[in-house]
Amino acid sequence: MPEIRVTPLGAGQDVGRSCILVSIAGKNVMLDCGMHMGFNDDRRFPDFSYITQNGRLTDFLDCVIISHFHLDHCGALPYFSEMVGYDGPIYMTHPTQAICPILLEDYRKIAVDKKGEANFFTSQMIKDCMKKVVAVHLHQTVQVDDELEIKAYYAGHVLGAAMFQIKVGSESVVYTGDYNMTPDRHLGAAWIDKCRPNLLITESTYATTIRDSKRCRERDFLKKVHETVERGGKVLIPVFALGRAQELCILLETFWERMNLKVPIYFSTGLTEKANHYYKLFIPWTNQKIRKTFVQRNMFEFKHIKAFDRAFADNPGPMVVFATPGMLHAGQSLQIFRKWAGNEKNMVIMPGYCVQGTVGHKILSGQRKLEMEGRQVLEVKMQVEYMSFSAHADAKGIMQLVGQAEPESVLLVHGEAKKMEFLKQKIEQELRLLPEAKKPRLLHGTLIMKDSNFRLVSSEQALKELGLAEHQLRFTCRVHLHDTRKEQETALRVYSHLKSVLKDHCVQHLPDGSVTVESVLLQAAAPSEDPGTKVLLVSWTYQDEELGSFLTSLLKKGLPQAPS
């Protein structure tokens, strides 16, 4: 059995910089190529020298697969392909291909223009890199070369996120990327068929969490927004441009529609507008509701949500604003926050996690007085709410996916080591993976080797083709019975005895005095020397060995006393 080697270049036991090298049967595949948010030095990209010390990347790798457009899964791609040098194919889904360059460009801008980093990849490099991308459809089997094939499955998480099955010969690996097992307002749940891979590489961000139902959170969110707006307050929702932003937009949009509300909702312009455009285009990747209704109306064509202008922040009256970035550390969201913080009627809702040190984190941990730049002190009177809308599978979801795919073994990545330990135990305990997946089946047949061709055919056909006569292998056995009666009667007794014991088999009494059970033949004979005993000849074919030996053992026990 060819071995499967997995080398994580990143995100082995942490989150960020996802990059996993898999070798199956001599084929090398790189899964994801991400960057790490937490570092600004060389550590932000995976260490490709692990590969390059033995030669060029292109020679070593057969293909690269990107699971979705989040930067921790694709952020290092231009660096990898243009600066380190890789010319082979890069596979990703269509939405990822469309959105990925926008995010890369944005990332580049912040790194180069804002932080002034040198030796960073350029816009041209992003473009060149994207030229190497081959887009795949869901469930489309792509032959990378003669032996290596890949196939994408739906993963939820974000638009265009996919899980990939990599197959070489009979060996296969499934890489999940990030996925979500509970559907949300704009995406469906991850799904995979029972492909029984040898190895399942799954993320485990929430390895030790079982989440509450999404509905409660949604309801809370809507209720809070609704109440604030009704009071005449303003609601600020800091978001990142892609993913959760669209989900919340849809949530609010449908709620506004249902409740017939007229309060304006604004969305900060720029990146988000571009992204929304792609969301409109990739309807097949969204959830059932959007897919079913887009003919009447595309859910991403928002009726109530309009583009935000800086001047609107000072408008009187209630409003809801989505603004970037999501952690309130800079940009538009922070500006609006400073304007509105003083009024207790207003509210800010943080829909996601905030890194330590950001304004978002401070207010969430209850700080009411913030020091801004220039020694200003900002008093926060507005309400602060936290609401987690996360799109990773929780422990139950991971188990569910493992159960669906029925792999031989599971590899946990993209999570914390301690949490993985727990999940590992659970998987071992509850799923009892392994061999059953490929169970052996008994097969009767003949392998014909002819002109260097192999064929498996039924034995009858093989005999016919080769012009051979069938040989029968019969076992025979003598059983001595104590019976003083005649042979005929003995046979009859044997017959009735067997008839009563073997209900499922066809027991027949032939006119010549012998008894047959399927192919087993029984004949009673009287040896000349001892009239008190009868010899029972039992004969059966090789195929009926089981039945034959059962019968002999049965008969050796003797016949039941005949009714007189």
Binding site: T182, P183, R185, G188, A189, W191, I192, D193, K194, T208, T209, I210, R211, D212, S213, K214, R215, C216, R217, E218, R219, D220, L222, K223, K224, H226, T254, E257, R258, M259, N260, N287, Q288, K289, L364, S365, G366, Q383, V384, E385, Y386, A395, K396, M399, Q400, G403, Q404, K419, F422, Q425, K426, E430, L431, K503, D504, H505, C506, V507, Q508
Partner: protein
């Protein structure tokens, strides 16, 4: 409308008649050259298999009569033996199956042949088709045990075939025909009797998923036919739950469900432990597990079946709503639990802290089960599913289980309330209805009520109305809850004024259900002040009326309440008691005369006297025969008046009273018509006089049609009488025409038509004729032979005398009779704003109507729009526009598109007349009947 009605009914009449004629013509066709011969010639002509196939296809399109089936079958079989091409043989085999289904043909004669050819057949497809044919034959002869046995044997022999199609059909055959008794009947050849269940069970592990599915289906078929499945099947089926193929899993879920219903109480061991549980619990757990299956088809199936497993123990049932939350290995409370806790601790609005939901206790890592073998969280998953089909199925299942278990109802409340926020309206509506169904078992907490009430702002009318109905039968626990509900309903009222009626009704029930909770709210609601007089509110304000409806209904069972009313409240009460009597009950007000003493409670509850009165007045009419015409007329007039009044007073008896009154009116008209002077005068002189008689005839016809179609619950007994009355009217019409027209030609036709009608009458109601002793038709039928041969003039004469002599038929009262009626809520009549639209363009008019006691409204109700120029337009509403809020009640909410070309009737009308005026009041609701 009347003319229209009549026309339509005539249409129906002729429609009913036609098929009979067709049958007659068909019979004639039998004498034509036989089909078999033609087929034979065709098949002989065929040069290639493709040709033959074409002929067979053509042949299959035409029906074959039972008499010629046998011949055709012989021809087909003959060709079958000759044919080499499998596709033609396949078609022949399928034709054999089709033919054996022909009514009136006994297929046992072709069975031998079919089995014969089956033995020699090599092609798998043809084999499968032949087995299908045998199945058709077998199902046609359910009584013949021997044949069934034989067929089962054949099926068993072919079970080992290599093709899945053949095995499929064999299993199907076994499922449909396998003998139900396990008795050990022996075949002639000495073969052991076959235990069909065991044979089918062996194929549960077939290599082909289609065969596995077929095997399970066959097993289910056996169950449906009444065979008691063995319990051993349960284990086999459980293994199939982890099959790779969804159709197998889906069928297996069904099978498990069946077994669990058969042996709910038997005990099964839990694998890998020593414990044992009831089978139904085990099955419940397994099906619950399938709610998180990979295929949505299986999930829907599983969720649906859960609902019908009522024997499951409550411990397991409650697990379905339980999902142990944890965060970083620490136990977390669900939002539901938190809400409950907040509520009980008295501190309400919260969530201001980050980490409010912070995990508390540490979880023992060993104790956490991520994939519970049991039922854990099945509904939590089902309700969160991606596909709305699964969610709806889960909600339905919740509903059924909650109805049978009050404690479960209490538990599932939170989840149902959550479903009110689903993204798909159907799911929201379904969950509201579910909630209403289980509302007897539950009391809403304040925070739950809050969530429920939030939905009142939904823009969908269906949702809002469903919610109003839910509130009608909800129990609220606190006075704040009532206040909250009232405030939200009033908010709803201002936002959607069209909901007025529904909200008033809702408040009526809310008030009468919670009098004690309303009591402390009264001063606040009426804004009374202990010392000062407050301003009198506007009586026409719907919101104020809503508040009053709530209070008055609560006051009905709470005698202390009226003391809190101020003067104007009493005045308003009197006004509302009159104008909205269905919403405002009669109150006993202290120190005042009962305002509505006329309808004081003493009269209402006594039902018997009015029933008696009805009977008496109808019995009086019996004596009609013995009175002189003048007296009879008077008696009828009085009785009709009495009945009408009774109908107005007693709504329960309205249907019966109206029905009888209509009948009596017909009789009255008939008598009056016969009293006319014209009969005594020579015909030509009194042309004009006959107007009254012919008008009477017309009216009787109209009334009889109304009686037949506008009441629900009319039985055959009544239909006969009604038709009899109509026949009399027709006779009257004939006589009048005969007297007033000159020339015999038109009379001939009319006479013939009338006699035809009599003939129909006789044919339709042949069974009821004995009841019609001494009546018009009785006598008429006696004289029928004479009438057939005599001249029109003579016929008329006979009819005239008979009409006068015939006895008055007593109309037996049906058990339950209701007059069908329709009220148009929208567009309101006499609207001040006429509808304007531009000629040539289309304008949509919302129509909202309640239909009472209309049978099959989808087909019978149409909307008629009358335009000012006299044009009428019939519009057929879509079936989806009808909703069924209660028994006997329908609601039509639809849009009618109005359009009109340029006004032609206007003097000097030209294209310039762009604006058209249309009064809203003229859209009527004619009720159309059909048979």
């Amino acid at each position: 409308m009347a003319a229209h009605l009549k026309k339509r009914v005539y249409e129906e009449f002729t429609k009913v008649v036609q098929p009979q004629e067709e049958i007659a013509t068909k019979k004639l066709r039998l004498t034509k050259p036989s089909k078999s011969a033609a087929l034979h010639i065709d098949l002989c002509k065929a040069t290639s298999p493709a040709d033959a196939l074409q002929y067979l296809l053509q042949f299959a399109r035409k029906p074959v009569e039972a008499e010629s089936v046998e011949g055709v079958v012989r021809i087909l079989l003959e060709h079958y033996y000759k044919e080499n091409d499998p596709s033609v043989r396949l078609k022949i085999a399928s034709l054999l199956g089709l033919l054996s289904k022909t009514a009136g043909f006994s297929p046992d004669c072709i069975m031998d042949d079919a089995i014969n050819i089956l033995q020699n057949e090599k092609s798998h497809q043809v084999l499968a088709q032949l087995l299908d044919t045998l199945l058709a034959i077998g199902t046609k002869l359910p009584e013949n045990q021997a044949i069934q046995m034989r067929l089962v044997d054949v099926a068993c022999k072919h079970l080992t075939d290599t093709s899945h199609g053949v095995r499929n059909k064999c299993l199907q055959l076994l499922g449909n025909l396998g003998s139900l008794e396990k008795s050990v009947t022996k075949d002639a050849e000495g073969l052991a009797a076959r235990d069909v269940q065991k044979i089918i069970g062996d194929y549960f592990s077939d290599q082909d998923p289609r065969v596995r599915t077929a095997a399970i289906k066959a097993m289910l078929q056996l169950h449906e036919r009444g065979l008691k499945l063995h319990q051993t099947i349960y284990n086999q089926a459980c293994k199939l739950l982890s099959d790779d193929y969804e159709q197998v899993r889906s069928a297996a879920v069904q099978l498990i469900w069946v077994v669990s219903q058969l042996y709910p109480e038997s005990i099964v061991p839990i694998p890998s432990s020593n414990e044992e549980i009831r089978l139904v619990d085990d099955a419940f757990g397994k099906i619950c597990h399938m709610v998180s299956d990979g295929s949505w088809v299986v999930r829907v199936q599983a969720a649906k079946l859960l609902g019908s497993m009522e024997q499951v123990s409550s411990h397991f049932l409650e697990q379905t709503l339980d999902k142990k939350l944890m965060s970083d290995l620490r136990r977390k409370r669900t939002a539901h639990e938190r809400a409950k806790e907040l509520y009980s601790s008295g501190e309400f609005s919260s969530g201001r802290k980050w980490g409010d939901d912070a995990p508390k206790e540490e979880v023992d890592t060993g104790a956490v089960n991520l994939i519970e073998s049991g039922a854990c969280g099945a509904f939590v998953h089902g309700l969160e599913d991606e596909m709305y089909e699964v969610r709806i199925a889960a909600v339905e299942a919740l509903c059924m289980l909650a109805q049978s278990s009050p404690s479960f109802a209490e538990k599932c409340l939170d989840f149902l309330v959550d479903m009110f926020n689903d993204e798909i309206e159907e799911v929201r509506l379904q969950s509201i209805h579910t909630m209403r169904k289980i509302s007897n078992n539950i009391t809403l907490r304040e925070d739950q009520l809050d969530t429920v009430l939030a939905v009142l702002e939904d823009s969908s009318r269906d949702i809002r109305e469903a919610l109003h109905e839910l509130l009608c039968c909800t129990n609220v626990s606190t006075k704040e809850g009532i206040h909250l509900a009232l405030v939200e309903l009033l908010k709803n009222l201002t936002k959607y004024p069209t909901d007025r009626d529904s909200i008033w009704k809702c408040l009526k029930f809310l008030g009468s259900r919670h009098p004690t909770l309303v009591l402390p709210l009264v001063p606040e609601l009426l804004s009374t002040h202990p010392f000062f007089d407050t301003a009198e509110p506007d009586m026409d304000d719907p919101a104020y009326i809503a508040v009053l409806v709530l209070i008055f209904n609560a006051a009905k069972t709470c005698p202390t309440m009226p003391a809190l009313f101020s003067d104007h409240t009493f005045r308003h009460y009197a006004y509302l008691r009159d104008s909205l009597s269905h919403l405002v009950p009669a109150l006993r007000l202290p120190g005042r005369k009962l305002v509505s003493s006329a309808v004081s409670p003493s009269i209402i509850p006594q039902e018997d006297p009015s029933q008696q009165f009805l009977q008496q007045s109808l019995e009086r009419v019996y004596s009609l025969q013995h009175l002189d015409p003048q007296g009879a007329q008077e008696l009828l007039e009085f009785t009709i008046r009495d009945l009408q009044r009774l109908g107005e007073l007693q709504s329960e008896l309205a249907g019966v009273a109206d029905f009888s009154a209509t009948y009596l009116r017909c009789q009255l008209l008939l008598i009056k018509a016969l009293q006319e002077k014209l009969w005594n005068v020579a015909a030509p002189l009194y042309l004009k006089q006959s107007d009254l008689a012919s008008a009477a005839a017309k009216q009787i016809m109209e009334e009889t049609y109304k009686m037949e179609f506008m009441y629900s619950g009319v039985e055959n007994k009544q239909v006969v009488i009604i038709h009899h009355m109509r026949l009399q009217a027709k006779a009257l019409q004939l006589i009048v025409t005969a007297r007033t027209t000159r020339g015999l030609d038109p009379l001939f036709g009319m006479c013939e038509k009338f006699l035809q009608e009599v003939d129909f009458f006789q044919r339709y109601f042949i069974a009821d004729l004995p009841h019609l002793q001494d009546s018009f038709v009785d006598k008429l039928l006696d004289l029928m032979p004479r009438l057939m041969t005599s001249k029109p003039a003579e016929v008329v004469k006979i009819l005239q005398t008979m009409l006068r002599q015939s006895a008055f038929l007593h109309l037996p009262l049906p058990e339950q009779i209701h007059k069908a009626s329709a009220t148009i809520i929208e567009p309101a009549g006499e609207s001040d704003n006429p509808l304007r639209f531009t000629s040539g363009l289309v304008v949509a008019l919302d129509v909202d109507a309640t239909l009472e006691h209309v049978q099959d409204p989808q087909n019978t109700v149409k909307v008629q729009v009358l335009y000012p120029d006299g044009q009428a337009q019939m519009i057929h509403p879509k079936p989806a526009d009808f909703r069924n809020p209660g028994p006997g009640r329908h609601r039509l909410i639809t849009q009618v598109y109005l359009s009109h070309t340029a006004w032609t009737g206007m003097p000097g009308g030209s294209e310039a007349a762009a604006g058209l005026q249309l009064q809203c009041s003229h859209s009527k609701m004619p009720l159309d009947g059909g048979w």
